[in-house]
């Protein structure tokens, strides 16, 4: 029964998207996509729709409440497709106080866009958010989910992470070095809780590394 319903929904979306492409109604697209996404996403069927489904998902996101937005953000994460529409929608909640939604948005952002402002908003959250949980999860997103970065964008990310090694908050120093280790496989002896002089020695090694990295681009 469920299988048959899923099949019907799939056909409806294909039809709706085809109509949309031929000048049909946006509402028809949106209704069909809503059926696939909520209350819980049927990802295999959504994947089959291809990137054409993304604008409808972004519209649905923008008119949904926090719980559904979190579900849709997770769907963007799973798809991992670059999309200006998805980025625009998700960026609205990059500072939301809703815990679940914030985490889903932070994780999804790097998988829908490699724009500099996406990396910057996550770096800002990692460094300056008042909530340590959001700082920590922004770092996780920077470590694992920046899947579309170019070499130049990686350089920008590493430069800001190395700057964060001088942050007065020990937690920020700790998560910044973790992100660097995950990206590079190295930590260059940095201990976030070591005395400042010792930390500086390691930061200078990181800065030398960054200068060499930059010179090679």
């Amino acid at each position: 029964m469920n299988h048959r319903r899923a099949g019907a929904a799939h056909r409806a979306v294909v039809l709706a998207l085809a109509l949309g492409a031929a000048g049909g109604t946006r509402a028809a697209d949106d209704a069909a996509v809503t059926g696939l996404l909520l209350p819980s996403p049927r990802m295999e069927e959504i994947k089959k729709m291809g990137p054409a489904v993304l604008p409808a998902m972004a519209r649905l996101y923008e008119r949904s409440g926090p719980a559904d937005r979190a579900t849709i953000a997770n769907a963007f994460y799973v798809l991992g497709w670059k999309s200006a529409d998805a980025k625009r929608a998700l960026m609205q909640d990059a500072h939301t106080g809703d815990s679940n939604l914030r985490l889903q948005v932070q994780w999804a952002l790097g998988r829908v866009s490699n724009d500099a402002d996406v990396v910057d908003v996550l770096l800002d959250n990692m460094q300056h958010d008042g909530n340590p949980l959001f700082r920590d999860k922004a770092a996780c997103a920077l470590a694992h989910d920046q899947i579309h970065l170019t070499e130049g964008q990686k350089l920008h990310l590493y430069a800001r992470l190395i700057t964060s090694l001088r942050d007065p908050k020990p937690q920020v120093r700790d998560i910044a070095i973790k992100v660097l280790v995950i990206h590079t496989g190295q930590n260059k002896g940095f201990d976030p809780n070591a005395p400042m002089g010792q930390r500086e020695q390691s930061i200078r090694a990181w800065e030398d590394w960054l200068a060499e990295y930059r010179a090679n681009q």
Partner: protein, 522 residues
């Protein structure tokens, strides 16, 4: 033989480039000119992956030596990349010498070449040791965790690469020349390997298009691949194309090993513990750790880690089922079987998708003489993972613990018991008895109108070990008709066809598993 001779010639040619590189054929690990018959794919040579729309194949359009090279063509936006992936015996000390040549038809398109270890293509120790990347018209090597610029590439020019990788220090010398010139374009000495890690082992090479952005439309050519060691290497001769022992022998060894080893079965990867890579990434992320930390915490494929790794922090709680399993394995090895079973059950409850917990519990139940429970567990596992070859090994283990197995198996009704008995016969090398027993099971299943392709396969196994290759072929072909894409069956049929002298059939079956460089053969 011709490959070895070729390798010696190639090494002599590159000897001028890399002082101290061995030119003795006894040092050669692999050597491919792609001109001779040594292009058979297999687990001891190389595999060809052409998922999506990219292609990999022999070509005579461009070549550095002889009359052929390998052409890799990537297609942008097709969701995958083509790959020529080669295998050689793991090197974890000494120096590895690598020599190869490449030519690209479009200097703007990305492609990558790598040497990697058991952690495959990740930027960690025992992952990628050496990587060349062509991108936006520039050739880079990845050293000290960064892409380092080498030189602007030119299309339609052969570049000859010589690498001396010192595994103990994790450093390499890299020399690159243009075809026909003696002055190197690049001569970098003592470069840190990709992750800047000493003792980072290597066992595979890879030529691919673009693994990330899927934007590359590269069409490039590879020729004269030679890898050698700083000391003589002893390699068993090829038993058949692409493998140094027959597939079926490897499988039989595993069956017999299962019979001898009364401890835990070996884990194949994170899925065995009930974690997909996405699960592990999410758990690590929630604990503020990274995926590699989580992967490193899992016991390796060769056995068990001695203890829970330190420094896991909050991640340790998420991986508790793995540590329960390890505790159970230690207890099983020490003969405290009831304690072992309790630990396996605890792990299985926490992570029901973890197949290794059930396989281990089956071993413990059998050792406690709780055969009915062991079989129930095995049946449940078979319902969800019927294609896992370890189920046969688990059946053998139950059978080997059971004193009255033969009588019960010959009663006839219980398929599980029957298969246990068959594996016990294989374990004992009682081939004739195994063949008779498989035939009996086929007759019974036919009479009851039940599926019997598994017993046809087993009849083929017994015939193969008896040396009756014609009968084995008939059986494997019949079983394959029921399961046309079964990789294990394809490799077994490939073996038997080889022994029968049917080289065309052998190749066809093997290449359905490992791919082919021959465009006409697809």
């Amino acid at each position: 033989m011709r490959a070895t001779a070729f390798a010696a010639v190639a090494l002599l040619a590159i000897g001028v480039a890399m002082a101290g590189s061995p030119t003795d054929p006894a040092h050669v690990l692999v050597g491919y000119s792609f001109d001779d018959e040594m292009t058979a794919t297999g687990p001891d040579t190389f595999a060809v992956y052409q998922a999506a729309r990219g292609t990999v194949g022999l070509s005579s359009t461009f070549r550095l030596s002889g009359y052929r090279s390998v052409e890799l063509r990537d297609v942008a936006g097709d969701g995958d990349f083509p790959e020529l992936q080669g295998f050689f015996p793991r090197r974890d000390s000494g120096t590895l010498y690598a020599h190869f040549a490449f030519l690209t038809t479009d200097d703007r398109q990305e492609f990558n070449v790598a040497l990697a270890g058991p952690r495959r293509f990740t930027n960690v120790k025992d992952g990628i040791a050496f990587r060349l990347q062509a991108r936006d018209g520039i050739l880079y090597h990845h050293s000290d965790s960064m892409p380092k610029r080498l030189f602007p590439l030119r299309a339609f020019v052969w570049y000859v690469v010589d690498l001396a990788y010192r595994i103990d220090t994790g450093t390499y010398d890299l020399v690159i020349r243009e075809e026909g010139t003696s002055t190197p374009m690049v001569d970098r000495r003592d470069q840190p390997n990709a992750p800047h890690e000493a003792r980072s082992a290597v066992e595979m090479f890879s030529f691919i298009g673009d693994p990330g952005t899927d934007e590359s439309k590269v069409d490039y050519f590879v020729d004269d691949v030679v890898l050698s060691a700083d000391r003589p290497v002893t390699l068993p001769p090829f038993a058949a194309p692409g493998r140094r022992r027959l597939f079926v022998d490897a499988w039989l060894t595993a069956v017999q090993q299962a019979g001898r080893d009364r401890g835990c079965p070996r884990a194949a990867g994170p899925e065995d513990f009930g974690y997909s890579l996405d699960d592990l990434r999410a758990l690590a992320r929630a604990a503020g750790a990274d995926l590699m930390t989580a992967l490193r915490a899992l016991p390796n494929a060769a056995g068990r880690s001695p203890a829970k790794p330190a420094g896991l922090g909050a991640l340790a709680a998420s991986l508790e089922p793995v540590f329960d399993w390890q505790r159970g394995c230690d207890a099983l090895a020490a003969g405290r079987v009831a304690e072992a079973l309790a630990a396996f059950e605890e792990a299985a409850r926490a992570r029901p998708a973890g197949r290794i917990y059930d396989l281990s519990a089956i071993a413990a139940l059998a050792r406690l003489d709780r055969f009915a429970d062991a079989e129930t567990r095995l049946d449940a596992l078979a319902a969800s993972a019927g294609d896992d070859p370890r189920l046969g090994l688990a059946a053998a283990r139950i059978g080997l613990e059971r004193p009255d197995l033969e009588r019960l198996a010959n009663d006839g009704k219980d398929e599980g018991l029957a298969e246990e008995f068959f594996f016990v016969l294989l374990h004992r090398k009682s081939w004739t008895e195994a063949a008779r027993f498989a035939d009996k099971r086929i007759e019974r299943a036919r009479g009851l109108k039940l599926p019997y392709d598994l017993w046809v396969e087993h009849a083929g196994d017994a015939a193969f070990f008896l040396g009756n290759d014609a009968a084995a072929r008939t059986s494997y072909e019949a079983a394959l008709a029921a399961r046309p894409n079964d990789r294990r069956l394809l490799t077994k049929l490939s073996d038997v066809l080889w022994r029968l002298g049917d080289t065309r059939g052998e190749r066809s079956c093997r290449e359905r598993v490992f791919g082919t460089l021959d465009r006409a053969g697809r």
